[in-house]
Every structure is written in C-alpha cells, then in structure tokens.
Symmetry: C2
Subunit: 345 residues, 2 copies
C-alpha cells in the first residue's frame, strides 16, 4: 500500500453513499470501519459469517478497524471506566455493554480488517494532568492485554500513543507503547478540546521517535491542509469523517479551496465542480448549478456525488504528496498547494 494515504471512514461498514467500485476509482487506499458501531449493529458475528468486513462490504482493498474506544468516550455518555475495561450504554438503544481489551481485540479479529487497534482511552484535553497520567498508564496496560489477546497472524495490531498536551506524558506513553513492540503505531489525535496547533506540537514531539520502518498513523485529521502538515511530520496514515461529512452538507473540497454549494453564486454556475478533478462528479458533465440544486433539495445523488468527489480529492492530494516526497520537493509542493487552496477559499 502506497503511503501517505488518507483513509475514508466507513463507519457502519459503508463509506456513506459509495460502492467499493467508487472507492477504488476515487483512489481510496484504506477504508476504516468502526468497531463500536459494527459491534452493536449488525454485530460482529454477522460480519464474520459474511467473511469479515471485506466479504460483508465487498471492499477488497486494505481495511482498518478502530477499537471502539473513541466512540465509547465520545458517543456513550453513561459509561463506567475501570481497570478491567469500560461499561457503556449503546447510542442506539441505551442497552448496556462492556468493552475490555480482550473483547475489542477479538471483535476486531472477527471483523477481520488488515489492521486492528488497541483499546485506548482518549480523555478530553482539559482533563487534569493527574487524569491524563492515570489514563495513559491504563491505556498502556490495556495495550499489553490487547497484544496478548491478539492471535490473528494475518492482521496487524497497532499501538496508540496518548498523553494529552503534556510533553512528558506523551514521552512516557510513547516509551510504554514502543516497549510493547507493535507492527505499527498511532498517535491519538484531535479529539476533544485541544487546538490543532497544540495537537501538531504533540505530534511533532512523538512522530520522530516512532520507528520509520513501521506505519505511523495519526488519528482524526482529514482537512487537506492538516493532512499536508502531518505528512510533513512523517505520518503515513490518517483518517477523518470530515471529507465525507462535509460532502453531505454540500461542501466540496476543490483545488481552489472549499466551496459551499448552498451558496447562491452556484445556482446558475454551469462550470464543473472542480475543473482539475477527474472524478465522476466532475468528469461526467454535472454542473455546479445541478449539484447545487441537488444539495439544496437534500437529494441522495448530491450526497453521493459530492462524497465521491471529496474522497477523490483526498486520494489525489495523497498521490501528489507521494510524488513530491519522491522527487524531494515536498515543502515547495505544500507551499504552492496550500497558498492556492487558501487564496480561493
């Protein structure tokens, strides 16, 4: 798999509105699935019986599942954290569930993605230092249990570095995670409360210490400029719902900045969404006026076409970044790309 690569999020076993064929033509490298959602609906057994997420969804490219931890902490408010794991109420029906490192590891083995993640806690940035310290140590103990529970040899289990905005805690988490010797490492990223600058500072601290021969995954970034920044810091993989969620709100990422198709100026604009893009939405003759109409009417085809476009733009951006890195002109590429993107926005 060529890296750096953006991973579109297929929350419930589908990148909303797109087929596997669409994802392929859009240049999606890895598709992400959410264990929290898939565990609750349709349940891991259903997915396992269908041949894992690949068989279930029909996507034959690389996949990654998260552990579900992030969703437990962001979606399920009635939760009880202990050394054993975390109890929570389902966001769907309030039913009680419990995630332990062993359970989320087994669940991810059943889901059968190529990469699984350890169960971690991602505390809010504004939690106390003491809380962050306890949390990262528990996360490290959980990571060890995940590793011990993980048996599937055709699946890589990645560790996760946490530690909030405390440089020394980040270093401690880094050390504890590296000690466990994972085939790939993630850095717990933008979650709750911190600024992007603060988060990039932490990433800048941690990324250079991660082994360069193993994939480095920064969790939760997906705006084009942010993606280019984390690539500069050595990140290979990143995911975010942003490009697909924006699309469903009618916002398209283009080479000339982010445009909101609800804006009145597009009502009669007969030009293509992005003249430089070759995705189905741009290459098949749809005008901005048509797409703007579909967006205003909340039509399914708007969600589908703009989602396809945004995923395609992220795929192209990564392709260009890889090329620039190979040619040794990454900094210049970023400067040019970002200045044009920001100028137009």
């Amino acid at each position: 798999m060529p890296t750096p690569t953006f991973m579109p999020v297929g929350t419930k076993g589908t990148v909303k509105g797109l087929t596997p064929g669409d994802l392929r033509t859009a240049g999606a490298g890895v598709v992400l699935g959410n264990t929290y959602h898939l565990y609750l609906r349709p349940g891991v057994e259903v997915v396992r019986e269908a041949g894992g997420l690949h068989g279930f969804t029909g996507w034959d490219g690389p996949m990654l599942t998260d552990s579900g931890g992030y969703q437990v902490f962001s979606l399920s408010h009635k939760r009880r954290l202990s050394e054993e794991g975390v109890e929570f109420a389902s966001v769907y029906d309030g039913s009680s569930h419990s995630f332990t490192p062993e359970l989320t590891t087994r669940a991810q083995e059943d889901l059968g993605a190529d990469v699984a993640m350890v169960l971690d806690e991602c505390p809010p940035a504004n939690a106390s230092r003491e809380y962050h310290e306890d949390s990262l140590r528990r996360t490290a103990r959980w990571a060890k249990r995940c590793k011990e529970a993980h048996a599937r040899e055709d699946q890589a289990l990645f560790g996760i570095v946490q530690g909030g905005l405390y440089p020394d805690l980040r270093r401690e988490s880094l050390e504890r995670t590296l000690d466990l010797d994972f085939p790939g490492y993630a850095v717990g990223g933008l979650s709750v409360g911190e600024s992007r600058e603060e988060m990039l500072d932490m990433l800048g601290l941690v990324a250079p210490e991660l082994p360069a021969d193993r994939p480095r995954y920064f969790m939760g970034i997906g705006d084009p400029v942010g993606v280019l920044e984390v690539i500069a810091l050595g990140v290979d993989m990143f995911d975010c719902v942003l490009p697909t969620r924006l699309a469903r709100h009618g916002a398209a990422l283009t080479n000339d900045g982010r445009i909101n198709l609800k804006n009145a100026r597009y009502r009669r604009d007969l030009g293509p969404l992005d003249p430089e893009c070759s995705c189905e939405a741009c290459g098949d003759g749809y005008s901005r006026a048509y797409l703007a109409h579909l967006v205003r009417e909340n039509e399914l085809l708007a969600h589908r076409l703009v989602t396809l476009h945004n995923v395609h733009v992220m795929g192209e951006l990564c392709r260009k970044a890889r090329k620039a890195i190979k040619e040794g002109c990454y900094a210049q590429f970023v400067e040019d790309w970002v200045s044009r993107y920001r100028k137009a926005s």
Copy 2:
C-alpha cells in the same frame, strides 16, 4: 424507443440516488420529471440555461415532463381553481403561484423534455358526477389552450383522458381529447380514492379507442402485476414512484416477489438480493445480509442499491413483456410471471 416501457420518476431532476449511467444500465427507457417541483426549485430558467433537463441532469435518453397539475391537486392544499387556471401555495414555502395551460406548456418547453403533457385536473374519485363532468370539460378546454400555446417542434405534447369512474364521462373526455389530435394520449390513472380494479375497468374502456399508432400512456402505475395488466390493455408507457419509493423503505421487487429487507430473516442471509437479476446490487456480490444491514441503518448506499435494483427489475420486466408480445405468448408469460411473483410474496 421500445415499448412498453416503465418510466422511473425523477421528481426533482434526479431519480433519487441514481446517476444517468445507472439508469442506462438499469434499462430505463424514459425518465420523468415533475414540472411542479422543477418550476418551484430550481426554476425553469435555471434548467433552460443548462440546456433543458437533458443538459441539466446529464440524462441523454428520452424524457417526459408532467404538467404539474397532479401535484397542484395532491400536494398544494390551498388552491383556487378557475377557468383561467389554478392558483396554489408552494409545498416548499407557501408562496403563491398560478398555473395556466399556457404557463405549464411554456414551462415544459423550457424544461425541454421529449414529451410534455397538457395541464389537467385529476379530481378525487369520490367527487360528484357533476364535478367530474365540469372538470373533464374544463380539462378539455385547457388541453386546447395547451395545444395552441405549444410551439416547440422537437417536443410532443400529449393529451390526457379524464372522467373519473363514469364510463360515459370517460367516453366524453376521450372524444374531446381525440378531437384535438395529439401525437400521444395519456389516461389519467390511479390517483385519489378509486380501487385499482375500477381504474382498470376505465382503462379497458378507453385504451382500445386510442389510436394504436400513437403512444398510449397510463399515468401512475408501477407495481409489477399492475404494469403487466395495463400492458395487456395496450398501454405503451407508465410511470410511478412506487419502485423507487419502496426501495427507500427497504422493499425490493424480485422475480420471487416483493421482499422487505427489514425482515429479520434476511439478517444473516448471504445470498444475493435476486439471483436472476444482473444489476449492480445483485451482480456485484452484495449479500441480502449486507443490504439488510444498510437498510436498517438507513444508509445512503441502501437507498442507492435497492433503487437501482427496483428500476432494473422494472426495465427487465418490460423487456420480457416486449419479447413475449413479439412472440405472441404474452398471456402465458403474464400467467407464469405473476403466479411465481405472488406465490413467493
């Protein structure tokens, strides 16, 4: 254009969730657009500037627009009918509008479909005989005005036979409409309050009197069995939102009957939606279990794939009907098809 043909409804300039490419592979013959909706949003000028509905939507096959009359009478409750036309409040924002025969004809010329329809009133079946009588005569006068207003030579304007459930009024409407000499004729169909059997009786009365060398269009039927019945009566074209609306509710039309994907029995069904169907939803390896999951989660991909499937099934049904008619075995074909469809349902 080969007939009989089912016309999927692209209400607002899109068959919900599908691209023109999808419609082509699904075997859609004609795509229908609703003047009521398109007149209000995005407005006919926007569509005209984009090259009419063909240019705006990218569908290069045949298109038909209705006059908007049906929606005025079914969607807009604050309406005032006069000889001149009908005033109504927009279903979107309550704003006041007025449709006259001249206006809806001009609007349809701007929309630029291959077939346009005269403005008609489609009164509820339970309206009084006197009401129906007045209404069909007004509709006939409106039809004349539409014909006089219609100038576009590359567009066919069809007349519409109304008359409710009164055989003599149907005959009167038929005569008045035939007198105007249209290049094609529609029979106002299932609308408000009548049973299907009653409606088919009326169609059976009118259809044989329509000129066989001109297209005969029955408005508002789209269930597979009903479609086969109206084809038997000589109908060439029919439209209905049913196949696409059902799809968005998770109901798939298959060769073995209509199935509701929300039914628990499909949760772990690894078979294809319809083993005899070659559409993308059936041929690309998606299981009923996966589709059922997407339907339960109200995922965009469910709407898209099941809609594509249902349109494809209707296209195939028409193709088979054409073949059977050609081979002189239509009655036998219908008997076989319907008995299997009903047995499984």
